[in-house]
């Protein structure tokens, strides 16, 4: 009765035929990965348009944008946004980008698509959870977007939703009534989706590796997704309680985050005794690891892709993986460095400064390993390779300012200025996106069976690379001379002489954003017109390249690959005169 052979294969994959199961409520990790990617594309487009509006307003505060007044007559009467509406849009730019782009694209999208394939599995450990995690995230996105269309617009409290502003309700300003509720509910849903996703990634990596796929043989991208999912599991498990307490403060009259005696719009608030700092502690206990949730997958993607184009193994694979784990561990000890100017005990600030400086060590180790791996390689300058090099560049440029900000005495001056804006945009946003771009150009042939256009790709790279430096480098300068952030305009005060710099940044941002349209067009064009891709167009070693492009429904056509080699076998003598050995190739007799 329990004879295995007489039973149907427990996990046999039969491709669904109905439209809904195939493309919408799909259990296939590859479809879910593409859904995440699509969601991130929509979110990044909205986020980018928002950044254009913000930049335009900063440089030309009196400029009328007629469409904007149609969109929100109270937020932008006559097409000029109010200072409050500027903050609302700023909140949405940050929230959409951090959660729905930087978390979704490098981690959820590529991780979903490639983690199971890279370890030789047919699917995720829990396909149903996987589907639920995407659709929960999707609903979270809809709820977030809904705040654009409610009476007061989105909340003005920023993507960090600092209490008590975020907790007290409509008396404190626009968007803090319904808009902030929608924000909190959306983020709580996002937490649930991310927790389900992280659980799935971990279980899949632990349980579903194919024969021969030891931990040491996992590609760096798989390692990065694995470490990231552990970070995400713990981080979102803290943000969710924080959101629940915030929602209770808002709707149930509790006083977790709202102090006593608060008078807003001439009204004494019916709360007492809460601690606004408590919100910041809970938020940043999530928020700092979130930074690594955004960047680690991209580091893993870059470390996987770079050796393919240098045609030599990555240096120090164990040091790289060890650094990832060290970063994951340390990321939980540094959250206080976001709070140096919060009113927290200055002594704690000094304590948080130490691990913050320590965490630069593994980050530096990884950067140096990537950089040194280029040396002596036979570089192939295809578009993914360019984005790898670009990644290293922007990661260093953004990382170096971190050394300064890690020190409370310097951060006290710089914290509320554009210096910080420059820092985190470079090191987290742009670096992570370069990882996504590299991954897209690299894996597109596998995902869609067609190559992307190289000319457009290179054009996209150079415009973006030069563009982001033009946008974010001057911000360091602005910050150093004391240009505060979060202000909607600098017209009538001592910052007026800096307006030309803001104009330069705005024009650069518009052009860099426009350059992304080349990328969008390349995606669409290549999907239908790109040259057909072979099984392994880049001559790479990992498992996804030993199946067809795109892979069949069960990834390897009813078989499980057997792994005999590590992922790093480049620059050696392979079969038929090639210079690499696939992970599935016969073991090397060396």
């Amino acid at each position: 009765m329990h004879d295995v052979s007489s039973q149907p294969v427990a996990h046999q994959h039969i491709a669904p035929t109905g439209f809904l199961r195939k493309y919408v409520f799909s259990l296939d990790h590859k479809v879910i990965g593409k859904q995440y990617y699509g969601l991130a594309l929509v979110a990044v487009f909205v986020g980018m348009v928002l950044s254009w509006l913000l930049r335009l307003h900063l440089a030309y505060p009196n400029w009328h944008i007629p469409l904007l007044s149609k969109f929100s007559s109270t937020g932008a009467p006559g097409g000029v946004m109010t200072p409050e509406y500027y903050l609302s849009l700023l909140t949405m730019h940050g929230t959409l980008m951090v959660f729905f782009v930087l978390t979704n694209a490098p981690f959820a999208a590529f991780g979903n698509y490639f983690l199971p394939i890279q370890i030789g599995a047919e699917d995720m450990a829990f396909p149903r959870f996987n589907m639920m995690s995407f659709w929960t995230t999707f609903v979270a996105f809809l709820v977030m977007m809904a705040s654009f269309f409610v009476a007061d617009g989105p909340p003005i409290s920023g993507w960090t939703a600092y209490a008590p502003l975020s907790a007290v309700g409509g008396d404190a300003g626009p968007g803090l009534a319904l808009g902030q509720n929608l924000w909190a509910i959306s983020i709580a849903l996002f937490c649930v989706g991310s927790l389900l996703g992280a659980l799935n990634f971990i279980a899949t990596t632990l349980d579903l590796r194919t024969k021969g796929m030891s931990l040491a043989r996992m590609p760096y991208s798989t390692w990065a997704w694995f470490v990231t999912s552990v970070i995400a599991l713990l981080a979102f498990a803290v943000l969710l309680p924080a959101c629940i307490l915030l929602i209770l403060d808002r709707v149930a009259g509790t006083s977790f985050f709202i102090p006593g005696g608060l008078i807003l719009s001439d009204k004494l608030q019916p709360h007492s005794g809460g601690s606004p700092l408590l919100w910041q502690h809970l938020f940043w206990f999530f928020g700092h690891p979130e930074v690594y949730i955004a960047i680690l997958p991209s580091i893993g993607i870059i470390a996987t892709i770079l050796p393919v184009f240098t045609r030599k193994p990555l240096l120090g694979p164990r040091a790289l993986i060890g650094s990832m784990i060290a970063i994951g561990f340390l990321s939980y000890m540094v959250w206080g460095h976001h709070m140096f100017v919060s009113g927290m005990n200055p002594f704690s600030a000094n304590i948080f400064s130490v691990p913050t400086l320590v965490i630069t060590i593994p980050a530096t180790v990884m950067t140096l390993l990537l950089t040194a791996s280029i040396y002596g390689g036979k570089m192939r300058f295809d578009t993914p390779a360019l984005f790898c090099l670009g990644f290293i560049s922007v990661f260093i440029s953004g990382g170096i300012s971190g050394f300064y900000l890690a020190q409370p005495s310097l951060d006290t001056y710089l914290h509320a200025t554009y210096f910080v804006v420059a820092h985190f945009h470079f090191v987290m946003a742009v670096a992570s996106l370069f990882g996504v771009f590299a991954g897209t150009y690299f894996w597109f042939p596998k995902m869609f069976g067609r190559m992307m256009n190289e000319t457009l790709g290179k054009l996209h790279f150079w415009l973006t690379f030069v563009g982001v430096y033009c946008v974010f480098m001057p911000m360091h300068y602005l910050g150093l001379v004391g240009n505060v952030r979060r202000y909607s305009a600098f017209v009538d005060d001592y910052l007026a002489p800096l307006i030309p710099v803001h104009k330069f940044i705005t024009i650069a941002a518009l052009l860099t954003g426009a350059a992304q349209l080349i990328f969008f067009w390349n995606l669409i064009w290549s999907r239908f017109r790109g040259p057909v891709a072979s099984e392994n167009p880049w001559e790479a070693t990992s498992l996804e390249w030993s199946t067809t492009s795109p892979p069949p429904f069960d990834n390897f056509g009813g078989k499980h690959p057997v792994v005999n080699n590590g992922p790093n076998e480049y620059g050696i003598e392979g079969t038929n005169g090639s210079d690499y050995v696939m992970q599935t190739a016969a073991p090397r007799s060396a």
Binding site: M1, H2, D3, V4, S5, Q7, V9, A10, H11, Q12, G120, A121, E122, A125, F126, F129, A198, L199, I202, A203, L206, D207, L208, R209, T210, K211, L233, L234, F236, A237, V238, L240, P241, A242, I244, L245, L248, A252, G253, T254, S255, F256, P259, G260, S272, G273, G274, S275, L277, L278, H281, L282, F285, F556, G558, K559, H560, P561, V562, T584
Partner: protein
């Protein structure tokens, strides 16, 4: 290059992962142990521990922030509920002992007697779980009758938050239990992977979590 799954399935023994020609076993898609639902349960527990650690630290910080904390006596009913929950863990243990083969522990099928007894214990566990949740709601009512509501004082806020969060997680366990009973009944106990080990791990953890919360609430409120 590659393993044919169908072929591996046919060379498999009666239980355990399919055997391969070199004598090893295919620890990937079809093995019953370590069952992946059990791995999932442990990972889930990891996250839940983190969530409750966050709530706990929020409670400690909030209590230290302002001297407005009002202490109150916990409803006696909570101790009865605790006994009910502890008993449910015991009955779940009795059930899984009888249904072991179902969960993929051994090669033999459960005997008719073990199967029916196991199902009874499972049903009792389900009932006790339900009683616990109802008991918790009654405890809320006792507290509300003393005018301690969610927003009355941070101490009562945290009481309601903790009990509600635990209750919500336990409801998840109850749903899983109900699903499993249905699945077992449908297949007459022949379902190979029912998630029983995973559910046991989760259920016992809910037990331990409640004891922790009870002690915390006793000390703090």
């Amino acid at each position: 290059m590659g393993i044919d799954i169908q072929e591996a399935m046919h060379t498999a023994g009666t239980i355990g992962p399919p055997g391969l020609s070199d004598g090893s076993r295919l620890y990937t898609q079809t093995h019953p142990r370590p069952e992946r639902s059990e791995t999932g349960a442990w990972i889930g527990i990891f996250a839940i521990v983190m969530s409750f650690a966050a709530f706990t630290s929020a409670m400690i910080v909030r209590q230290g922030a302002t001297p407005d904390w009002v202490h109150f006596e916990l409803p006696r009913l909570l101790y009865v509920n605790t006994l009910i929950l502890l008993t449910s863990s015991l009955t779940l243990g009795l059930a899984s002992k009888r249904l072991r083969s179902v969960a993929g522990f051994s090669a033999t099928a459960p005997t008719e007697k073990a199967y029916s007894e196991g199902m009874i214990w499972l049903a009792i566990t389900l009932g006790l779980g339900g009683f616990f949740v109802i008991g918790q709601i009654l405890a809320w009512r006792v507290l509300a009758a003393q005018s301690f509501f969610l927003s009355t004082n941070p101490s009562s806020s945290f009481f309601y938050v903790f009990t509600a969060m635990h209750g919500a997680h336990l409801l998840g366990g109850i749903a899983g239990l109900a699903y499993m009973i249905r699945k077992l009944a449908k297949t007459n106990g022949t379902a190979r992977t029912t998630g029983l080990p995973a559910l046991s791990v989760y259920w016992h953890f809910m037990d331990g979590l409640w004891i922790y919360l009870l002690v915390l609430l006793m000390v703090r409120t």
